[in-house]
Symmetry: C2
Subunit: 297 residues, 2 copies
């Protein structure tokens, strides 16, 4: 039996971006239009600015139109919502993203809720969450990171139907939608969270483990069933004086131990991380095709 | 250790209806208004007529105003939606219920989706499903049957936090919301469905089992961990020539076997069944109090 095969998220994400670029070129030719993504940034947080910049760059690389508004830190909620509404009304914008976190004086729920569920490329709107959780319904958008997790599994040929999956974490942006997506693939899913008393024992039952709890190297090698497939969503900075920056990034799984036991595993960085932006592009492309009246494959 | 204590849904539901009647009497005195429930029935199915009649009767018993429209079997979708919209606009109606199934020529999703999510006492609207599944959010309404299951557990003093719960079934009206509600009580939840390969083994891990798959006596005694608590949602008619009607009702769990192993168990009938209407009344009362601007306890 093979052990520790690396699921190369960077390479798979690159492949997906190529596929998207080809579709965009084709749309440009046949429909004469391209997908458009709008990003709303409030304030001057360095990390948010970096994220927004890399999203814009990714848009441009695949041929999307990219729209952006930066509002000052002291913008009022009304100003931000107005800005979202302008993008809601703009036919050239197919996806809208509000970069989080917003300044403390702003009600995030109200601002994120102002994004039309038809342009909700983050998949955070209650209608999209609801339809994700409903049999016989299909959400317009699925949150990008968990969508990326499933895409990694599917593109790696991992059978999900009838398998036991354990998702560690139940946040709105990762754990809960990941569990729903695995269940839609007919896995039998258990969700572990901070009140779970015996996480190691439960994880040991799993054929597929998705770790999204935000605790450095929390899942150990001996928590895993031999041959399990591990998707590590965590991105945690741990002190490391031997590096230039003084820290390095590790996942929620102890990679060194886990890669001895798992059949396949995502590295951190270079696993789930690169998939998130690729799925944002995929969601925006889907939205544009819906708006153009072009069939999704 | 005690075995096979009966969770008496009929008695608990009766208690809840008394509590609701007392609140209604109090509202009548202090606010001068009572909760109103509207039921839309299309066609002349005998079973639907029976359900609607018992819902109206339950409303009247607790002092609600009850509104009802019966449309002919050949009503158009537009006529049904118009009827729903009239109730949406009627300030005396706080809850609206469309009796399912609708005739075959009607798009159920469209009709049920026409009910304002603020009057959606069935809890089926995607917004209410979405907010049920989101951390930090609270749905306006939770589907009645799963809400009844949790209420039975809570009123029976069953500790849920940190316990393992297995829900068998993942339908929109029972299994999926039951799993979400158990998780909100901080149980660690596994959802078993028709593609699950080893249901007996998984059920044996559970401290709490909710069976909602619709298969007579599917869950056997030896599937249960000794001392588990069993909530049996199933209502299945099985042939029984010894009875006057020629059939009797059994649950999804083999009661005779399970009651030897479980610490507590709901009977069928008289377990979850009576809770469904009680929760419908509770949802309608909540809606009315929101509309009156009266604090919920
Ligand atoms: N592009 C990417 O790759 C992305 C990576 N991430 C990373 O994924 C991780 C999770 O992110 P996010 O979901 O936003 O985090 P949150 O902090 O929002 O959620 C963490 C979840 O993990 C659960 N949890 C916390 N501690 C434990 C524990 N000891 N045992 C079991 N469960 C626990 C919490 O449970 P409870 O609900 O009970 O509190 C909660 O549901 C982070 O490391 C984050 O950096 C996130 C988004 C994108
Ligand atoms: N007031 C009350 O007490 C109520 C009682 N009920 C009763 O509850 C039961 C369930 O109702 P409902 O949820 O509407 O039923 P559905 O038929 O809509 O859903 C049944 C669920 O059970 C799953 N299932 C079916 N067969 C198996 C199997 N062999 N092993 C594991 N899972 C299986 C299905 O899985 P999959 O998704 O893979 O197909 C599905 O998710 C019925 O007996 C119904 O009469 C229902 C509502 C109210």
């Amino acid at each position: 039996e093979r052990r520790g095969a690396v699921i190369d998220g960077k390479s798979i994400a690159g492949q997906i971006r190529k596929e998207i670029a080809a579709e965009v070129a084709n749309l440009k030719e046949t429909v004469g239009k391209v997908p458009g993504l709008a990003v709303v940034l409030v304030g001057t947080r360095k990390d948010s600015e970096t994220y927004v910049r890399s999203k814009k760059k990714a848009c441009e690389e695949v041929g999307f139109a990219s729209f952006g508004v930066t509002l000052p830190e002291d913008a009022t909620q009304e100003e931000i919502v107005n800005c979202v509404n302008q993008f809601n009304d703009d036919p050239e914008v197919h996806g809208i993203l509000v970069q989080l976190p917003l300044p403390k004086h702003i009600n995030e729920e109200a601002v994120v809720g102002a994004v039309s569920f038809e342009k909700d490329v983050d998949g955070f709107h209650p209608i999209n969450v609801g339809t994700l959780c409903m049999q016989g319904r299909k959400p317009l958008f699925v949150p990008c990171t968990p969508k990326g997790c499933i895409e990694l599994l599917l593109r790696s040929g991992v059978e999900l139907k009838g398998k036991r999956a354990v998702v560690i974490g139940r946040s709105n942006i990762v754990g809960t939608p990941a569990a729903q997506l695995l269940q839609r693939q007919n896995a039998t899913v258990t969700v572990v969270h901070s009140a779970t008393t015996n996480p190691a024992e439960i994880v040991r039952e799993a054929d597929i483990v998705v770790a999204a709890l935000g605790k450095a190297e929390f899942v150990r090698g001996d928590w895993l069933k031999p041959g399990a497939v591990v998707i590590d969503v965590g991105i945690n900075a741990v002190d490391d004086p031997s590096t230039k920056k003084g820290y390095r990034l590790v996942g929620d799984v102890c990679y060194k131990e886990a890669s001895q036991v798992a059949s396949m595993i995502t590295p951190v960085p270079g696993g789930v991380g690169p998939m998130t932006i690729a799925m944002l592009l995929a969601n925006t492309l889907d939205a544009a095709k819906r708006s153009f009246g072009v069939e999704n494959a």
